[in-house]
Amino acid sequence: MSDPAGPRNTVGRARRRVDGRAKVTGATRFADDVVLPRTVHCKLLRSSVPHGTIRSIDVSKAEAHPGVLLVLTGKDFPIPFGILPVSQDEDPLCRDRVRFVGDPVAAIVARDEATAFDALDLIDVDYEILPTRATPLEAYENPSPRIHEYGEEGNVHKRVSFRFGDTDEAFAASDHVFEDVFFFQGNTHLPIEQHASIAAPDPDGKLTIWSSTQVPHYLHRALARALDMPAAHIRVVACPNGGGFGGKTDPFNHEIVVAKAAMILGRPVKIALNREEVFYCHRGRHPVLMKFKTGVRSDGTITAMHLKTFIDGGAYGSYGVASTFYTGALQTVTYRIPRYRFEACRMFTNKPPCGPKRGHGTPQPRFGQEVQLDKIAEALSLDPADLRLSIVERPGTVTANYMHVQTIGLADCIASVVRRSDWKTRFRKLPHGRGLGLACSSYLSGAGLPIYWNKLPHSGVQLKLDRSGGVTAFCGATEVGQGSDDVLVNIVAEILGIDPLDVRYVTGDTDLTPVDLGSYSSRVTLMMGNAAIQAAERARDLLAGAVSKKLEVPASRLVFSERRVFDAEDPGRGVTFQEAVVLAETELGTLGTTGSYTPPRSPARYKGGGVGPSPTYSYTACVVEVDVDPVTGWIRVPKVWIAHDIGRALNPVLARGQVEGSVYMGLGEALMEEQTFRRLPPRLSPALVHKFPSMLEYKSPTSLDMPEVDTELIEHPDPRGPFGAKEVGQGPLLPVMPAVANAVYDAVGVRIDEVPITPEKILRALDDLAKGKPGRYGPESFPEIRYPEPMLVPTPWEGGDGNAVNDPERQRAAKME
């Protein structure tokens, strides 16, 4: 879908991003920067108990407090909401049940924030305490009381089970079978911008909300549902996000509450969450316990893999059903795995809900897979880089679980980091305490299916051109820092041959822009980019037709470049871009074009096969060097080498920023970040509370912790990407955590089979090693979980067609025919 002549104007050039000036002058208008006359302020009262029923709420004192304009409770919101159609399990304000410390139970709107805050103390809530389920195993072993009345059974939210080919037979025929258990602790996005929203009634009685959301379209749907208003009467404006990372991808309680309050009061209502509340919004990385069983031949060829995951979902569904599938969907797209079995189980617990954080469900199993591969290489006396190179998946393959690999630059990525890190002369040869570790990964360039079933485009772009020579691009995509506005403008400017700064852009506004599903699943560059190409090429064709008549040159010979349209064979013969627009508007009337993108159909036809397919996958390889002090266990990372198969970098400055930002966030997850909880002393309180809902104590890397990153972008254009581009925002995070674990083993000879990898865990493993034990820190066992009978899906090389052979629904349908 790219210009066969290749880009010539702006694509591929390192440039200042189109929104760069706004970001360095403080002019970017984030949600809390939106100021409207007569605004009043909202605060939420949040549950102080982790699990209970609400016997009664007395708001009379709060209502009587001077300056308080409105108090809302659960009874004002009869309709629940949620991001996925299958888990509409959240109330804007809890109606009868609270499920974690931080669950919102009441809202106060007052003349100012301080008054609203003071009035929170005047609300009396009488809770009947229910038993708290702090861990997934506790929730599994205690099915009653149920945290939710829906789900599989007890506190099991979602269970899945697949078998792609006969794995038992393959294990029996393997030279070696490796079994390892890993744990990935939960962590959170920690965007520096706290969530904020301001809602206001429009003069004609409609509603507008400005919000820090990554998904204006999905928020639009949730508001229409929860407020019982026609979607056409609601306008959602996604302000540029001050960091999202997946944490602003759900519709949130506070957004619905201020929208309702604005409609009741007839004036703007604003809410700005404090930092503690941001920790309660969460939707971050699911804690995942996992067991990998992998069969190999003596040369390292994988014969089969069986992966089990056990997932801590927290108190609500969020994206959890998708997350559950994602803990096993992408194991097959990096290395050839001819037979694959995957079982997963997500539990409800009384903690803030987990959801999609950068990598969504896939970094946890990627950690286990890449650490286990390191162990396999060690056991088989193979170099871990050579082992991986020998098993890299081939381009164009449909994998055992029917993921369709397109271009794959993983071998080049591995070769790049091996060369630059001097791997061959340094791995296993550095002095004690120093080590190198290697790991790889892959990620989606956009989810192949939307979160609600439809056959509509995933992204739409409109262009308006007029006699001024001005071009305006409209798209629902949302700028969260990644540079989506720059991608849009870059592509339009490339095709029309104008400067990116000539283009105006309007994005993330459900009234003004065509739908784009949002900034998640690394979908924006590929999907919006392809829609932008279509819209811009249609505009170029309109102009070319008019210019062709004027110059008497075939349209196919016209070049659009440097704000001119000219004859390729006689570049002096041409018109300015503005003259071209005037010619076209004169001939055709008012000018406008549209472009759309819908992903190609996936070969995965089995139920549950909708999670994992993508138009194409990105690939990454990473080498991390560590310096471990064997006395203190302290870990320092002096350098990271990373190579990312991006297809093509549309703006290399921004692409590199995404890679290195991913490395940073990955190092945080590897070494320090954890969202953990503690029970208060039972005689004082039943509460299960967040250990440290503050930025000081939730440790994240500072400028002093960040190593040098040596980045290489591997550019083999992918035919499905705009100008060949694939994703870059998430994939490069994934290999960092396992590469750190593998480097720690190279440095001091201990295996830390869980993240974060802390000095304490290293010391414990070193102690064990000194006592002649295995020198490993990590989970000892995987619990007995009742997974369903597997859905049996024959692989493509066993005559499979992507369908399950034992899907009960299909069998029923077949009988009826």
Binding site: R16, R17, D19, G20, R21, A22, K23, V24, T25, G26, A27, T28, R29, F30, D32, D33, V35, A114, H189, L190, P191, I192, E193, Q194, P240, N241, G242, G243, G244, F245, A272, N274, R275, V480, G481, Q482, G483, V653, L654, R656, G657, E660, G661, S662, V663, Y664, M665, S694, M695, L696, S700, T702, S703, L704, M706, E708, V709
Partner: protein, 160 residues
């Protein structure tokens, strides 16, 4: 609570205002004076997003009571560019080299870096990391920020 009269200088302009006595400098800048370029990330002095210069020194405006700024000189990101719209070399380098992604921590980092370059025109990478260690950035991984500060330092030295 009666309002408090406050006179101070902001970005070179004298400002007279009346503020609630409990308000922080951050709140007065953003809410009373409409200078929303200064950001908040925690209001507890932990993230660094609200840093401004007071009498030339970086301070966390969320921890300073506005009343304590009587007669003092405050500089915010809105005052960094020149009258003709020319970006400060730090701003230009951050925009060109990927120093700002979401842009939320950027105003505070620009001001902190400006103070660094005023006292140390040729800082080492370690000195830059040290100066910015109180400003959390979740997007960039800091390396492009370091490069932007180094580039701006070079441009400033060349223009002297």
């Amino acid at each position: 609570m009666p309002l408090l009269q406050l006179s101070l200088e902001i970005n070179g302009e004298p400002v007279e205002t009346a503020v609630a006595p409990y308000k922080t400098l951050l709140e007065v800048l953003r809410e009373d004076l409409g200078l929303t370029g200064t950001k908040h990330g925690c209001e507890l002095g932990e993230c660094g997003a609200c840093a401004v210069l007071v009498d030339g020194q970086p301070v966390l405006s969320c921890l300073v009571v506005a009343a304590a700024c009587e007669g003092r000189r405050v500089e915010t990101v809105e005052g960094m560019a020149g009258r003709d719209g020319a970006l400060h070399p730090l701003q230009a380098a951050f925009a060109d080299l990927g120093g700002a992604q979401c842009g939320y921590c950027t105003p505070a980092i620009l001001l902190t870096a400006r103070k660094l370059l005023e006292t140390n025109p040729e800082p080492t990478r370690d000195e830059i990391a040290d100066a910015l260690s109180g400003n959390l950035c979740r997007c960039t991984g800091y390396n492009q920020i370091f490069e932007a500060v180094e580039e701006a330092a070079a441009r400033l030295r060349a223009s002297r």
